[in-house]
């Protein structure tokens, strides 16, 4: 019986809870304010043990709290805080206070007093630390208020003497965040207990706890970040910290020293144990260099990284970093680099080294050798030889940055960079090749260095090889042997890895352009021409032969004497290549030869300026001729579009602009066609075909406008307006078409409303641009807005129709730099006749390799689409790590796509293509609009009409032959 009773009680209890719960969830948002704090209050009162209370608090912490109810909740929490004996619960409450004061839209100054008061009676160090953390949150939200800052600073200073490291840590953090930046803003504030923040923090550089020392340095760095100028006196203190026992202290100290060296580069500091003085930046540089051989790799990475940004250092110190005086048995030895240089300059290159070749030469004065230099000696030599690749990469990066600012240093560090090409970790190799490319303007490769560089061409990693091709594109070579060597090695590479074809040709193109005079003497040999005999004509399809020709033709561009050395077939091949590989072969002026006079012919093609002019003129023509009859307007548009497209093909520099304008004109053309008068005079039901045409046109315009907005880089706000305007017109057209075809008014209501909303948001977005849009569709529409809002849908549609037809054609201003996003799939090549066989139901990985140009943020926008013959489409998001960035504006996607399908009876082709995903809410215009609404109420946001997502295919589809086989029966 008793058990039964108990059960009933329990049942009742649970019932009550459930009801409460339902009630809660049923309530509207604005009603939750009292309920939330009340519920918490009830919960906390109910809690019998600290553990239980903690549970309630943890649950509470998971739910968000609105800004209005924060204060109430805080009051309740504080009430419990005073009552609570258990430190862990108080700790949680303290942390909740911090979380709550972070709530957007809540101003925490009302709870600051309470938070400070709670500090007074608190005994537990952990809770104290947490409370101070809460104060930090409050302080960071109220940085504008100097009184609050002063108050919090006072609190922090008071607790700095606490015996717990955690509390001191937080105090220092607080001081770092809130210490007054503007010195002596108010007289009274200054006199108030001499708040020399830096002094207070500096005193804790010698704290007994390493964590507090670290916090002190971090606080100092924080002050710096907030714009407070650190005093130079800290420098000597910071230098002492460099020999601290703890790595985090050293790591932070290195940063502090770096900051100081940037602040006071030119001030003079004495060298201890001598009466000399040096510049502070040099001294700091020496000290940081010293840290490159620290015991902890974290510090080493930090130090190596920071070295790169110390560009004011004097060259004398800089060059020491690469110097490590070698000796053997107390005799001076030359480094291998020096020996190589000498061998090279003595003209005896690549003779084998003999034993004892590196035998030490002069005797060294034992007194003069300084084994642990206080200076920068050999810092990079050590850094590049480090055990951890993180340190090596950091060192290479630093080398790169320093070399970019100092040509003489670049020359010196070359040997070391070349050495890094043989590192055991691919990342490091790649990084050093990239670095070399970045500094290649300052350097000329010696032949022996080139030799080492070229040896890497055989690397099996494609990334490395391509990086190297990039490097060779912008390398200066000093001799004709060098060029020959490079060519030979590249051809070797070509035979070993035929897939590198494009990259190698491109590399040779630049190599030829840069060194015409060095190529000239090599021409007879390269073309294997003979003064007396005719040599057999080489095979035109041989990639190696094409490579040689690319080199020669590009060199011939600036070397007019070269064509004289060509034989007959070379000219023929030139014409062929100029047509087929026009991006690699430049236009040449060939003497005494009449060239094919096709429009493609390079000699006819005008130089840049005329074609630019042509583009401008043809666009002008279109924009000006508004009063032609529709027929001729259409024709003119068609012709112009054709011209522009052709121009884009011919002139790669103008391709972006030409395509962009052509697309715009096409939109216009579509619009004009769709609006042709005679179609609209006839009753709708009779002209189904025309309706279909119009709606198709509207759809296409929409697509094109998305392309214009998202596929081109460099589109400015001026263009975005026009594009959006065009889209608005398309939407209007759509509305009109639908209005004509659908019966009944009901659906139209919604559509009209939608459209008006869009007009409205268009106005809001581009309010600043509206004055430029006289006479346009939207301009007229806005004038008619009051009428539209009040009128019935059918009337509204009529108004729209007339406005649309009367509106003029907007001039599209051309942006400075515009590039169309393009992509080419290199692999799969789509030529294979052998189907890729795999067992159905299992997965096969297809390697996809593509180059992307002018794609912004490809990691999030580029997708791979796979189309199966049954129409099924699959969208794959490549990993961010699959994208590499070989050069500015270019990306490379190397990824694997997993395919799977049920069994087929015979092999079939699937299509692989790349898509560019866009999200119209991310466009430049609408972000401004929706930002304010986004943050306030994340949950309550209605699905925005701006959130249209879509994809634009931007590569040619590639066909892959696959064959999923039925699974074999497993052996039983």
């Amino acid at each position: 019986m008793a058990a039964h009773l108990k059960k009933r009680v329990y049942e009742e209890f649970t019932k009550v809870v459930q009801q409460q719960h339902e009630e809660l969830s049923a309530k509207k948002l604005r009603l939750t304010k009292p309920s939330k704090s009340a519920a918490l209050h009830v919960d906390l009162c109910k809690a019998t043990s600290p553990a239980e209370a903690l549970q309630y608090l943890l649950q509470f912490a998971r739910k968000p709290v609105e800004a209005e109810s924060v204060e109430g909740v805080v009051r309740i929490l504080l009430e419990h805080y005073y009552k609570e004996n258990d430190a862990s619960v108080r700790l949680k409450i303290a942390s909740l206070l911090g979380l709550l004061s972070k709530t957007a839209g809540f101003s925490p100054d009302c709870i600051m007093d309470d938070a400070i008061n709670t500090l007074q009676n608190e005994k537990s160090h952990q809770v104290l630390a947490q409370l101070l953390d809460t104060l930090l949150v409050i302080g960071t939200k109220l940085t504008e208020n100097p009184a609050v800052r002063m108050r919090l600073l006072d609190v922090a200073c008071k607790y700095l003497t606490d015996s717990s490291h955690g509390v001191r840590n937080k105090c220092l953090q607080l001081i770092g965040y809130l210490g007054s930046v503007e010195k002596g803003a108010t007289k009274e504030a200054e006199s108030l207990a001499t708040k020399d923040v830096q002094k207070i923090i500096g005193d804790h550089f010698n704290d007994q706890d390493p964590r507090v020392r670290t916090a002190a340095i971090k606080a100092m760095l924080q002050l710096h970040e907030r714009g407070l100028k650190l005093q130079q006196t800290i420098y000597s203190q910071a230098c002492k910290l460099l020999s601290d026992d703890y790595e985090q202290v050293r790591s932070a100290a290195v940063q502090l020293i770096w900051v100081l060296s940037q602040l006071y580069p030119e001030s003079i500091v004495p060298i201890p144990s001598s009466n000399e003085e040096i510049r502070l930046v040099d001294d700091a540089f020496g000290k940081i260099c010293h840290m490159v051989s620290d015991g902890s790799w974290v510090v080493r990475v930090q130090a190596a990284k920071l070295l790169g940004s110390m560009q004011q250092v004097s060259s004398h110190f800089l060059e020491q970093t690469l110097d490590k005086k070698l000796m053997s048995d107390l005799r001076r030895k030359r480094t291998a680099h020096e020996r190589a240089k000498e061998l090279y300059s003595s003209g005896e290159f690549s003779s084998g080294r003999k034993w004892g070749d590196d035998a030490p030469k002069e005797e060294i004065d034992t007194g003069a050798v300084n084994l642990i230099e206080s200076g920068a000696c050999g810092a990079f030599v050590h850094g590049l030889e480090d055990e951890m690749y993180e340190v090596r990469i950091a060192a290479v990066e630093a080398l790169c940055m320093l070399a970019q600012s100092s040509p003489s240093f670049a020359e010196k560090c070359l040997d070391f960079l070349v050495d890094m090409f043989n590192d055991e970790i691919e990342e490091v190799r790649l990084q050093s090749i990239h670095t070399m490319r970045k500094i290649s303007n300052n350097i000329t490769l010696r032949e022996d260095q080139l030799d080492t560089v070229l040896a890497v061409l055989e690397d099996s990693s494609r990334d490395i090889r391509e990086a190297l091709h990039e490097l060779l594109c912008c390398t200066n070579v000093s001799t004709k042997e060098g060029i020959h060597l490079a060519l030979v090695e590249l051809l070797k590479n070509l035979t070993k890895y035929p897939t590198d074809r494009e990259s190698i040709w491109k590399c040779l193109k630049f190599l030829g352009c840069r060194h015409p005079t060095l190529v000239l003497p090599l021409v007879p040999e390269l073309l294997s021409t003979h003064p007396f005999f005719d040599t057999p004509e080489p095979d035109m399809d041989d990639p190696a032969y094409i490579a040689v020709l690319v080199l020669i033709f590009n060199a011939a561009k600036t070397c007019p004497t070269m064509p004289a050395l060509f034989s007959d077939h070379t000219f023929r091949h030139y014409a062929y290549l100029r047509d087929s590989l026009s991006h690699l072969v430049p236009p040449l002026r060939l003497p005494g030869r009449k060239l094919v006079s096709s429009p493609v012919s390079p000699s006819v093609t005008p130089h840049e300026d005329p074609s630019q002019q042509f583009l401008q003129q043809s666009l002008e023509r279109v924009y000006n001729l508004q009063h032609l009859d529709p027929q001729s307007t259409q024709e003119l548009l068609e012709f112009t579009i054709r011209d522009l497209q052709r121009l884009g093909e011919l002139q790669s520099e103008l391709a972006g602009v030409a395509d962009f304008s052509a697309t715009y004109l096409r939109c216009q053309l579509l619009l004009i066609k769709a609006l042709q008068e005679k179609l609209w005079n006839v009753a709708a039901p009779l002209y189904l075909k025309q309706n279909a045409l119009a709606s198709a046109a509207a759809k296409q315009i929409m697509e094109e406008t998305y392309k214009m907005e998202f596929m081109y880089s460099g589109v400015e706000n001026r263009q975005v307006v026009i594009i959006h305007h065009m889209r608005l017109q398309a939407k209007a057209l759509q509305l009109i078409v639908t209005a004509r075809t659908t019966r009944g008014v009901e659906p139209l209501f919604g559509m009209c409303e939608n459209f008006l909303q869009e007009v409205d948001s268009f106005q809001r977005c581009f309010i600043s641009e509206l004055p430029h849009m006289q006479d346009s569709f939207v301009d007229k529409l806005l004038d008619l807005m009051p009428r539209l809002v009040t009128s019935k849908p059918s009337e509204a549609v009529k108004i729209l129709q007339t406005t649309l037809r009367q509106s003029t054609f907007l001039h599209l201003p051309l942006p400075e730099q515009i590039h169309r996003a393009t992509s080419t799939i290199i692999e799969p090549a789509g030529e294979s006749d052998n189907p890729l066989r795999f067992t159905s139901g299992l997965v096969v990985a297809l390697d996809v390799d593509a180059t992307l140009e002018h794609v912004q943020d490809p990691q999030s926008t580029v997708k791979v689409q796979v189309l199966y013959p049954d129409g099924q489409a699959q969208l794959i998001h490549p990993k961010p790590a699959d994208f590499r960035n070989p050069g500015p504006g270019r990306h490379r996607l190397i990824t694997q796509v997993y395919l799977s399908h049920t069994a087929w009876t015979e092999p079939c082709q699937i299509e692989v293509r790349l898509l560019l995903a866009y999200n119209s809410s991310k466009s430049k215009a609408s972000t401004r609009l929706s930002k304010s609404t986004w943050i306030d109420s994340m949950e309550a946001l209605p699905p925005s009409e701006y959130g249209i997502e879509g994809t634009i295919p931007f590569s040619k589809p590639v066909k892959v032959y696959i064959m999923p086989k039925p699974a074999r029966r497993a052996l039983v």
Binding site: T161, S163, N206, D207, Q208, D245, S293, G295, K324, K325, L326, M327, S328, D329, L330, K333, T335, A336, H337, G352, R353, K354, W355, G356, D358, T366, V369, N370, L371, I372, G378, V381, L384, E385, D386, E387, M388, Y389, F416, D419, M420, N422, D423, E424, I425, T452, A455, E458, D459, S460, S461, K496
Partner: protein, 600 residues
């Protein structure tokens, strides 16, 4: 005065038969137990009779530590433990324990089977000896007994090489063994924390050398091999079985992988194969790259390197062969050399030093015609290359290690006297610490000042530290208390507790001082003046005016009495206890100066 004594039995101003005796705080430790390669008589082993004439070694030595498996560091171990007789613990790292017996067995075979020596240790002795070995992990602190503890640090050099810290109480010694401060293709760099030992015993093989970057050497090596193979030539690389051989293998293996080369690489069988097995197992002892990639592929599982067979030497086409021994003085490497020497397309690369008299040394010094056994003349047409790959720290590396460990003094072993001299001078100059370089048998004594730990009760500590201002760890601090030395332990307790423990009564010592003050006014007025004056001066102390007409400054009592004879002179009695001596004497001197003239 406590002291640390160090006596090298071998490796003192010499390379070979490393064996160093250290006595620290009453504990005796033997570091390494190696043989000398240069001798074949009694001098090849350390003179263990130095340790004890007739007593048992076990009674004298607390433990033996072996730093790594090279024979000049462990070659005498079976002789020492089995033939001389030592039963105590021998410490070495796991890889050393695994590889050491292989090398000892090989050494025994050559000495006994080939040279026919007798009175040498047997295979069984090696096994028995290895049973006494205790294996240690890196950074594991091992308690040898209650007081003596040892700890191993990574040393690079060869697989399993370690540096050892030997610690008794607060005194400690670090022995480096052989170490390498620059990482190579298969091992990382030596590392030690800032343990601040009293003494650092460091090797100094390359005391006077600063080496070139490793990369140049590697690149040169690879380039040469590559060129030769491309020409269709055969490359012979004579190596010793362990250590460098693995490094070069990895170097070539990764290069072959990277460059997609197809020419075969062979590795002579036997010892090396066994050793490779251990390299495969002890991945944690290798460098970052191998450790990180072994999940995908163990770098020591060579894809391109295959076992060599005698018949392969006559195969046509290019190939690379690693063959033992390293100096071309006998065995397989010499056989192959003879076969290939005649062709100028071929190449031999000597990766290390060659002793005078060996074929290796001859060809390196440029001799092109060699007289072989049986009066044959061998004409050497093949290319001869020299590449030095060495795994010892150079002078800079040694200095770097000293900087990392921050020892109070340094002792150099395992190097030539003349070179050590230079390094010693440098160390003293740069670090301002003492540096020693004893010869074999010479004892170095250095005095230490170990810390003496004293227990203090928490209450007392808190009370005393609260008196001063901010606690500052870096500065010594004065504390008041009673030191009790009892049962070999020290305790600092408060005086009251000490009295209680010792059962003594407390005596109070009180100082009373009279101060004469000229003041014609009444007593209580004067007291008031004194009170006001003190209150004005001693702002930080509590000054009270008691109702009975006396003044209390903290616990110091000041009373005024009238001098009967002279009304103008008042006497102030100042009384304080011994504990308040400081304040009391200050007060009296203050009062003696007199009261200020202007009165309120």
């Amino acid at each position: 005065m406590p002291e640390i004594k160090v006596t090298p039995l071998g490796a003192g101003q010499d390379v070979g038969r490393s064996c160093i005796l250290v006595s620290i705080a009453g504990k005796n430790v033997m570091l390494d137990c190696g043989m000398h390669m240069g001798y074949n008589d009694d001098r090849r082993f350390p003179d263990f009779s130095y340790i004890t004439q007739n007593g048992r070694l076990t009674d004298f030595l607390d433990c033996v530590i072996i730093s790594h498996f090279h024979l000049d560091h462990c070659g005498a171990l079976p002789y020492f433990s089995e033939m001389v007789g030592y039963d105590g613990p021998i410490y070495m790292t796991h890889p050393t324990k695994a590889i050491c017996p292989i090398l000892l067995e090989d050494y025994r075979k050559i000495t006994v089977d080939k040279k026919g020596e007798t009175n040498f240790f047997t295979s069984q002795m090696i096994k028995d000896c290895m049973k006494k070995v205790v294996a240690v992990h890196l950074h594991q602190t091992i308690q040898v007994d209650d007081e003596l503890e040892i700890k191993a640090y990574y040393a690079g050099h060869v697989l399993g090489a370690a540096m050892f810290q030997i610690k008794v109480g607060s005194e400690s010694v670090v022995y480096t063994g052989d170490y390498n401060m620059t990482p190579d293709r298969h091992l990382g760099a030596a590392w030690i924390d800032k343990c601040r030992p009293d003494l650092l015993i460091s090797e100094s093989t390359y005391a006077t050398t600063i080496r070139d970057s490793k990369r140049c050497r590697e690149r040169d090596f690879l380039k040469k091999v590559h060129e030769s193979v491309e020409r269709g030539g055969k490359v012979l690389i004579p190596v010793f079985a362990l250590g460098r051989a693995q490094e070069l293998c990895i170097l070539l293996e990764t290069f072959w992988e990277r460059m997609n080369l197809k020419a075969p690489i062979y590795f002579s069988m036997g010892l090396t194969e066994k050793a490779n097995h251990y390299y495969k197992l002890f991945i944690t002892w290798t460098n970052q790259k191998i450790r990180k990639t072994f999940v995908q592929r163990n770098m020591f599982e060579f894809k391109h390197i295959k076992a060599f067979d005698r018949a392969f030497a006559d195969n046509p086409g290019p190939m690379v062969v690693f063959a033992t021994p390293g100096m071309l003085h006998a065995g397989q490497s010499l056989q192959i050399f003879r076969k290939w020497a005649g062709n100028e397309k071929n190449m031999v690369i000597m990766p290390g030093y060659c002793v005078q008299g060996t074929v290796g040394h001859k060809i390196l010094s440029g001799q092109r015609k060699l007289e072989m056994e049986g009066r044959q003349i061998l004409e050497v047409k093949m290319q001869v290359e020299y590449m030095s790959f060495s795994a010892h720290a150079d002078a800079k590396g040694i200095m770097q290690l000293i900087r990392q460990a921050e020892p109070r003094s340094v002792l150099l072993v395992h190097g030539e006297a003349k070179k050590m001299e230079f390094l010693k001078q440098k160390i003293e100059q740069e670090f301002h610490v003492n540096c020693y370089m004893p010869a074999n048998g010479e004892t170095t004594t250095l005095f230490t000042s170990p810390n003496i730990p004293v227990d203090i009760s928490l209450g007392l500590l808190k009370r005393e530290s609260a008196i001063g201002l901010v606690p500052d760890s870096k500065k010594p601090k004065l504390m008041h208390g009673t030191l009790i030395m009892k049962d070999n332990s020290f305790r600092l307790v408060s005086p009251e507790q000490a009295l209680k423990e010792l059962g003594l009564g407390e005596h109070q010592l009180r100082f009373t001082c009279r101060v004469h003050i000229q003041d014609p006014r009444k007593e209580h007025e004067m007291v008031l003046r004194v009170y006001n004056h003190l209150k004005g001066v001693l702002k930080d102390y509590s000054v009270q005016h008691l109702p009975d007409g006396s003044i209390m400054v903290e616990s110091i009592l000041i009373q005024a009495t009238a001098q009967s004879e002279d009304q103008g002179t008042k006497v102030l009695l100042v009384s304080w206890t011994y504990q308040d001596e400081e304040l009391g004497s200050y007060l009296t001197s203050l009062l003696k100066k007199g009261l200020p003239q202007t009165t309120a």
